[in-house]
Amino acid sequence: MNEAATYGPTAAALIGIGLYGVLTHAEPLRRILAFNLLGGGVFLVFGVVARRGAGAGFDGDPVPQAIIITGIVVAFAATTLAVALLLRLARLRGDSGND
């Protein structure tokens, strides 16, 4: 239970920090970065829930753990799409000479 009490507030802090970054940064790349921090915090909430649900001989509830793994991979896929859009935007701006 000790770990849950430590990492629960950590997760909450990470969500706040990430959200602040998303809202206050103007550069799209920095926003993508901050959004991933926010996501890390949300996954950590799941991790704390998994740890609290330890039982049946497991260190943690395997269902939230599986969901986190799915989530990390999908978050990465979404990030690649965001980065691709960002680079395309940069190229279009460069092409039209509005740098």
């Binding site: 000790n2 770990e3 849950a4 990492y7 629960g8 950590t10 909450a12 990470l14 969500i15 706040g16 920090i17 602040y20 970054g21 809202l23 206050t24 940064h25 103007a26 550069e27 790349l29 920095r30 901050a34 991933n36 921090l37 890390g40 996954f43 950590l44 991790g47 829930v49 998994a50 740890r51 649900g53 330890a54 039982g55 049946a56 001989g57 260190d59 509830d61 395997p62 269902v63 753990q65 599986a66 986190i68 793994i69 799915t70 990390i72 991979v73 999908v74 990465f76 896929a77 979404a78 990030t79 690649t80 799409l81 980065v83 691709a84 680079l87 395309r88 940069a90 190229r91 701006r93």
Partner: protein, 313 residues
């Protein structure tokens, strides 16, 4: 117990400090380096939370592949700014945002600490379902049998992401070789690494998938290691992926989900329903699904990292 608590506190504080640095850093490059360190600290936190499977995924996908992606993007953007100074909120607004975010964090932290005890848990159910799969790793059991639908949808999400990334290609470049127009850097040290590492890395990747049946590991973690080997060889200029228009390439990307769906449909006739495995063949079928998924995940991750075709073909 106190030593463990100290370790947890140190890890938690470092993770929060690095996250703050990532948001506060002046240049994007510094922020990304902070983000990679953050991912590695987070994977240590996962180990402390008893979820080694997640730790492996976080280190491989979050910090590793994510770091490569963002560093590459930052290098290609260079000093070019996509936003102007006037887009940054004024100081009072930033302070207000900070206060509200802190309030949100406080409320969330309070909510997490006051979760009901004993915590609701699906662990006993997962344990009961694990026996039928002949797997020793409960997380793999949940991913491939009990909640197979989530895993299938995730594999499909990767295919959709590849389509999404490809769709931002310019009209002139469509159908060409994925990746930037200029060839990757040809550094001799990198070329040496790209020749020596892949044989070792492929064995390690396959090992992580295979061992995932009974110990931490699995298709996503192993697939990422395989993808890393391909990306390494690509960065060194040793290999180029097939063109976006090639049928072979497109087949590779969808093999995993298609095999998964086909075996799932088989379950409609031979077992209890979609994505249910016939009892006698559960373990072999799971292995087939995992092998196909690993392959397609690796290909999809490589394509996502390399990006859309940019050279006019």
């Amino acid at each position: 117990m106190t030593a463990a608590l100290l370790l947890d506190l140190a890890l938690a504080l470092s993770a929060v400090a690095v996250a703050l640095w990532t948001v506060a850093a002046k240049r994007a490059f510094e922020a990304i380096v902070g983000f990679i360190a953050f991912g590695l600290l987070l994977s240590l936190a996962w180990v402390r939370l008893g979820t080694v499977d997640v730790a492996l995924t976080e280190a491989a996908v979050g910090a590793g592949a994510g770091g490569v992606l963002l560093l590459g993007a930052s290098a290609r953007l260079g000093t070019r700014a996509l936003a102007e100074a006037k887009d940054v909120p004024i100081l009072p607004l930033r302070v207000a945002t900070g206060l509200l975010c802190a309030l949100l964090s406080g409320a969330l932290g309070w909510a997490i600490l006051s979760l009901p005890t004993p915590a609701p848990s699906l662990a006993p159910l997962a344990a009961a379902n694990l026996a039928a799969t002949e797997l020793g790793n409960p997380v793999s059991g949940v991913l491939l049998a009990w909640r197979a639908m989530d895993t299938l949808l995730e594999a499909v999400a990767l295919v959709l992401a590849v389509i999404g990334v490809w769709s931002v290609a310019g009209d002139d470049a469509w159908g060409g070789i994925p990746g930037p127009a200029q060839p990757p850097r040809r550094d001799p040290a990198l070329r040496l690494a790209a020749r020596i590492l892949p044989p070792i890395g492929v064995v390690i990747g396959v090992h992580i998938v295979w061992t995932g049946a009974d110990a931490p590991g699995g298709a996503f973690q192993g697939g990422t290691v395989l993808a890393a080997m391909w990306v390494l060889a690509w960065m060194a200029g040793l290999v180029r992926p097939p063109a976006v228009s090639s049928r072979k390439m497109r087949t590779w990307v969808v093999t995993g989900p298609l095999v998964f769906i086909a075996i799932g449909l088989l379950g409609c006739f031979l077992a209890d329903g979609f994505l249910a495995y016939p009892a006698a063949f559960t373990k072999p079928l799971i292995l087939v699904v995992e092998a196909a998924l690993t392959f397609s995940i690796a290909v999809a991750l490589v394509l996502l990292l390399i990006g859309p075709p940019e050279a006019a073909s």
